[in-house]
């Protein structure tokens, strides 16, 4: 039971952090629960499908299917997070301020909700497929322990949910005006970290070998597998042994996000001008 608890919690932990952030970001948007719940549900269903076809998936691309699938999925999340940031740079101010009619802000808000729902779905899919595979395997091989397995898994899930709530309420303690800036920074670093993770998957698949030497090793200081290490890994992409390419991509995502936010966000939306 303890093994099931630990494994499920470890996998759900990362998804919990991401969902907590997304919930905080969309705090003021109506119907956000529907979108986020939809993302979680789609992620769970996707995870089951991935687990069912795990064997076939690993055989793809000369045995590197799993790595490439993970890299692709992370890539989708990075694009969605960046899009959200750029979108918010353009419309966020109106939503946060009292400039706009609430109804309009809601309509606008749900556009970026789709991107965030995808991010949530992707996070659940990635972590959930391992959980599904593990639980299915244990249940199939020794059915006698099904009950303790179930309770362990459930407890792990509850603890993972607690991480999500802690993140959410932690972020909500930040005053609303600062929250926008905080979450923008958080989402940018989240995206950059995911891009660096995608690079590591491509490196493992031998699809990316340029600049693949480890630049530094801080595992003695903060191991990636400690709770703090894992938290920072998810939130800002902390890696104790980053490769050159991981650092390059990390920096590139941050710079591209800033550039896009400046370029697109500085152009005032037409309707706001008309209203003002």
């Amino acid at each position: 039971m303890l093994a099931a608890l630990i494994i499920v919690f470890r996998e759900v932990f990362e998804a919990g952090l991401i969902i907590g952030i997304v919930l905080a970001v969309t705090r003021s948007v109506k119907h956000r629960n529907r979108w986020i719940a939809g993302g979680v549900l789609a992620g769970v269903l996707g995870a089951c499908v991935v687990a069912a076809f795990a064997g076939a998936l690993s055989q793809l691309f000369e045995g590197m299917g799993q790595e490439l699938f993970n890299a692709a999925i992370l890539g989708v999340a990075v694009i969605m997070l960046t899009w959200h940031n750029v979108w918010m740079a353009r419309h966020g101010k109106e939503m946060a301020g009292e400039l706009r009619a609430v109804g309009q802000a809601v309509a606008e808000g749900s556009k970026s909700l789709l991107a965030l729902a995808v991010v949530v779905g992707v996070a659940v899919l990635r972590e959930g497929s391992e959980v599904a595979l593990f639980l299915y395997g244990v249940a199939a091989s020794d059915g006698g322990t099904a009950m303790s397995l179930f309770s362990g898994g459930l407890l792990g899930l509850v603890l993972g949910g607690a991480v999500c709530l802690l993140t959410y309420f932690g972020l909500l303690r930040i005053p609303p005006r600062a929250l926008f800036t905080t979450t923008t920074v958080l989402i940018t670093l989240l995206a950059a970290g995911m891009a660096a993770q995608a690079v590591s998957f491509l490196e493992r698949a031998n699809w990316l070998t340029a600049l693949d030497t480890v630049v530094w090793d801080t595992s003695w200081l903060l191991s990636e597998d400690s709770i703090l290490g894992r938290t920072l890994h998810t939130l800002i992409g902390y890696t104790d042994q980053p490769t050159g390419m991981q650092l390059v991509i990390y920096a590139a995502v941050v710079l591209v996000t800033i550039a896009l936010m400046r370029l697109i966000g500085s152009e005032p939306p037409r309707r706001a001008v008309a209203a003002g």
């Binding site: 093994a3 494994i7 064997g55 690993s58 790595e67 091989s141 031998n206 070998t209 597998d225 370029l263």
Partner: protein, 115 residues
């Protein structure tokens, strides 16, 4: 302006990909190939490989459960479905002893000795 920006982004991405392709083809060849089977424990529990060369480990999972072949020091992590087989790529390593284990059953452990 938006259109030109996207074009530029794509061009940049294409350039990045193009720059990496030739290198990946060259590096993929000279790897040391190792094999290991898993039936609740690793067989053999000790693998050997020369230093400074990439390694590929073919892991065969004979159990009815999924397993995750993981090594913190080698930075590898790969889920292997029940009765399945997978290839794990390990980048060139310095001489040393690297421990690996099944993340779903941490009692099952083994070592890769690089010398």
């Amino acid at each position: 302006m938006f259109a030109s920006l996207t074009t530029r982004t794509f061009a940049f991405a294409a350039l990045c990909v193009a720059a990496m392709l030739p290198l990946s083809a060259a590096n993929a060849q000279q790897a040391t190939e190792l094999q290991i089977t898993y039936d609740g424990a690793f067989q053999p529990s000790e693998l050997r490989a020369p230093a400074g060369k990439p390694i590929t480990v073919k892991v065969k999972n004979n159990t009815a459960k999924a397993m995750e072949f993981e090594s913190k020091t080698l930075k590898v992590e790969k889920v292997i479905p029940s009765k399945g087989e997978a290839v794990v790529n390990v980048r060139a390593q310095k001489a040393g002893r690297y421990e690996f284990f099944d993340e779903f059953n941490e009692k099952a452990r083994g070592n890769l000795v690089v010398e």
